[in-house]
């Protein structure tokens, strides 16, 4: 009747397991405890690390014993001696949801009315890329920018965890992109600023190398410098920005047939442009978009009339950039339709209090189990400890985003894990009452109890799993965490109740204790 465990182990039996049944159970339990111990350390590495920190200095102080030192191979062994030290355990933090670490969750609606149907996908991807680039400027660890389609419209979902200034974030995301014209700095200034940036990392960069940097420019490099808060070393601001742009369009050079982006500035902009180009003849004029250097064409002569051209793009890029500039840089206009921002403080408090409460609840459950089910209850509690450590480790490894409802789900699943054990124990009690004198073997009865209980456990838990699946599909990231936690909890609880508790009971029950019924049930 209990087909899942025996099938799995039947396979393993063939290869690794000793034939004696008692040794088999001991090996199994030992393996499970080992994994649980590893898992527990993954859950909370501070104990291991604390121990490692304490013992490592002691290991350093210990030298190899006399006889070994006298061997010629001392050098090698000495190296080994130095290397032997306890490493720190892998510190994998929990993946926390927005309501625990604070952050914002935004939903934008994209207006695709001006874009043909087949371009929809491209436009949304372009939009996502632009927004993602802006979002990256915040230094958020795992920003989420996703395209969603719902109710016939296209949406962009932005989730930033761990930010504090919400309004700044929202403004920066929805903002129009920044077009800047910059002119070349005098060489001395360039070198000075470059040295400031580079001297922190390397020593002794030559002048020749510095000159090379600004003549063959790497836009990524410049972007990194600017993002780290320093000034752009190669070019300086002229004050001519996108606000003076009247129109951008894609043209084709009649001679080469190459696509170019044609910029038309307004009156004021044209005047400024005239001045800038006049003083920069035969020097590069840098055009920046959202702080990224796009093009630095050489100025041939003073330009009147505010027309400029940027070359060096293929047709696709040219179209995109022209579109960006015209729409005010986002390829598609967006409106904010939903905004949720949560401060970290609220989440942290709630979390602390809930964890404390959860622990109290668990203590009550432990007491209850031991009182009602005595030794069986104690074994079930041990199995629950294994369950908890495995579950937490899985949550860290997948990773499952923890939210407050998720933690409630975790605690709820502990209740359900207990349920499976209770089912078995009540069955066990029944079987004991039903047996005739001392005829039947304890282990036999135990098997029967598990066999009969498995059906109920399986059916009940499957219905819960079905609910979790639907919950997962339906909801936002807040509740997804809950569904996933509960679902994983239910699955692991089946393992812990059917296998761990059972094997523990078999092990313990094989000795003299099996005769003492009162130990096992009330």
């Amino acid at each position: 009747m209990v087909f899942i465990p025996s099938r799995a182990f039947g396979f393993l039996k063939f290869f690794i397991w000793p034939k004696e049944s008692r040794r088999r159970y001991r090996t199994a339990i030992f393996a499970v405890f080992l994994v649980a111990l590893l898992a527990a350390n993954l859950d909370s590495p501070k104990y291991w690390n604390g121990f490692a920190d304490w013992i490592n200095p002691k290991l350093d102080a210990v030298d190899m014993p006399e006889p070994i030192r006298r061997l010629d191979k001392w050098e090698v062994l000495k190296k080994a001696d130095d290397i032997i030290a306890l490493p720190h355990f892998w510190n994998l933090p929990f993946s926390q949801g927005l309501d625990l670490q604070g952050g914002i969750h935004l939903i934008y609606k994209a207006d695709l009315s001006n874009i043909t149907h087949q371009d929809h996908g491209d436009a949304m991807n372009g939009l996502r890329d632009v927004i993602e680039r802006r979002v990256n400027l915040f230094g958020v660890r795992e920003p989420k920018v996703l395209v969603q389609e719902a109710s016939g419209e296209y949406r962009l979902l932005v989730e930033l965890a761990g930010i504090t200034d919400f309004n700044e974030a929202i403004q920066l995301i929805g903002q129009t992109p920044y077009l800047e014209f910059k002119e070349e700095r005098p060489k001395d200034e360039q070198k000075r600023l470059l040295r400031e940036v580079l001297d922190e990392d390397q020593e002794g960069v030559t002048d020749a190398q510095l000159e090379g940097i600004c003549s063959t420019i790497n836009p990524q490099f410049l972007l990194i410098i600017q993002e780290s808060g320093k000034e752009d070393p190669c070019f300086k601001v002229t004050g001519l920005t996108g606000q003076y742009l009247k129109e951008a369009s894609v043209q084709f050079d009649p001679n080469t047939n190459q696509p170019t982006i044609s910029l038309q500035l307004d009156d004021e902009g044209s005047k400024l442009f005239e001045q800038i180009t006049a003083r920069n003849v035969d020097k590069p004029l840098a055009i920046y978009l959202d702080k990224v250097l796009r093009s630095a064409p050489r100025v041939q002569e003073k330009i009147v009339g505010g027309k400029a051209q940027i070359t060096g793009f293929d047709i696709k890029q040219a179209k995109q950039i022209a579109r960006d500039l015209n729409a005010g840089a986002l390829p598609v206009p967006i409106t904010l339709i939903s905004q949720q921002s949560i401060g970290a403080a609220l989440g942290e408090e709630s979390l602390r209090e809930s964890l404390r409460a959860g622990i109290l609840g668990i203590i009550a459950v432990v007491a209850f189990m031991i009182i009602l089910y005595r030794l069986s209850g104690l074994l079930a509690v041990i199995s629950l400890a294994v369950y908890l450590s495995l579950l937490l480790a899985i949550l860290k490894l997948v990773p499952v985003t923890l939210t407050l409802p998720g933690i409630a789900g975790l605690i709820l699943s502990i209740g359900m894990a207990v349920d499976a054990n209770v089912l078995v124990f009540e069955r066990l009690r029944e079987e004991f009452q039903r047996k005739k004198e001392d005829e039947e073997d304890f282990l036999f009865i135990l098997n029967r109890a598990y066999g009969r209980a498995w059906n109920s456990i399986r059916d009940g838990n499957i219905s819960t799993l079905l609910t979790c699946t639907i919950l997962f599909w339906f909801s936002t990231s807040f509740i997804k965490g809950f569904a996933l936690t509960l679902g994983i909890g239910v699955v692991v609880s089946m393992f812990s109740a059917m296998i761990v508790t059972r094997y523990l009971m078999r092990l313990v029950g094989e000795g003299r204790l099996r005769k003492k019924e009162w130990l096992w049930i009330r």
């Binding site: 929202i170 921002s341 709630s350 509740i479």
Partner: protein, 299 residues
């Protein structure tokens, strides 16, 4: 115990009717998740201002009806219509003139999303109910006597409906008197209750099925059900108790933000346990009786 079933039915009917009444009278206090709108929670460093001063400070913004609630010691929660980020900043600045504060959270949800959430919620509840019906009917397919297998599914569903209605009814009342909102977490709690309650009901049905399959002669359905109930009620109670311990602890001592989520779960688990023992099984018996009488009349 089956002889008392008339009392149990009466109790259930009373509870369900009053829940429906509660829904009709109080209505469900839909929060911003479903209706759209804004929620702003701020915490003042010193004393918080009175509700009227807050409302008059915001009078110029034309926010329509503003609901102000107290939260914790120095916090207030404001609810008004949906606003864009600029307006939000303006509102925040204005309130700051009443005292130094820190914004704890802010949500502004447009009506389109709200509608969608409502639809999705109803769909998912419906889907869960159907899936459970199918699963129970399948799990009990080996039995066709004395009741068809899908009967078990239907009775389980009735018990579930009963549970959900009562939970929702209680929440409608709570929403009215204590201004507790119904949002996405509430729907998640309802779905959880469905899963959990059916778990419970199935355990009882499972025992009934087992007893049917093992008993051949001298078949008395009523007695069999009674026996099954006697065998399983201890386990049902114990399981619910352990879940209660934990949920209760969180409700009393846990964080404010999930208090009501957990409360829904507690109500659901309580009602679910009750319905598995006192409603679902008696219903099976009554169905059997009705069927029996019908077949007697025809023969």
């Amino acid at each position: 115990m089956l002889k008392f079933r008339k009392y149990f039915y009466t109790l259930s009917v009373v509870l369900v009717l009053s829940s429906i009444a509660s829904l009709a009278i109080f209505g469900l206090n839909f929060g911003t998740d479903f209706n759209g709108g804004s929620i702003m929670e701020v915490r003042f460093q010193e004393e918080r201002p009175g509700h009227n001063s807050v409302k008059s400070a915001l009078a110029d913004f034309e926010l329509g009806e503003i609901i102000v609630q107290n939260a914790d010691e120095n916090g207030i929660i404001l609810r008004f219509r949906e606003v864009n980020p600029t307006l939000h900043q303006g509102i925040l600045n204005k309130i700051e003139t009443l005292g130094v504060l820190e914004e704890q959270r802010f949500e502004s949800i447009g009506p389109a999303i709200g509608e969608e959430t409502k639809r999705k919620a109803l769909w998912s509840i419906g889907l869960v109910l159907i899936t459970i019906l199918i699963y129970v009917a399948w799990a009990f397919r080996k039995i066709s006597f004395p009741l068809r297998s899908w009967t078990y599914g239907v009775v389980a569903l009735i018990a579930l409906f009963h549970d959900v209605l009562i939970a929702v009814g209680i929440f409608a009342a709570l929403g009215y008197f204590m201004n507790i909102e119904v949002g996405i977490p509430f729907v998640a709690a309802i779905l959880t209750i469905l899963g959990y309650s059916v778990n419970d009901t199935i355990v009882v049905f499972d025992r009934i099925r087992e007893n049917i399959l093992t008993k051949a002669s001298d078949f008395n359905f009523g007695e069999l059900i009674n026996k099954s109930l006697a065998q399983t009620y201890v386990r049902s109670l114990n399981t619910s108790l352990t879940t209660f311990f934990v949920l209760f602890a969180i409700f009393m001592l846990g964080g404010a933000t999930i208090k009501y989520f957990v409360l829904t779960l507690i109500i659901g688990v309580a009602v679910g346990t009750y319905s598995s023992i006192f409603l679902a099984s008696p219903l099976l018996f009554s169905w059997y009786l009705v069927q029996f009488k019908k077949s007697e009349k025809s023969s």
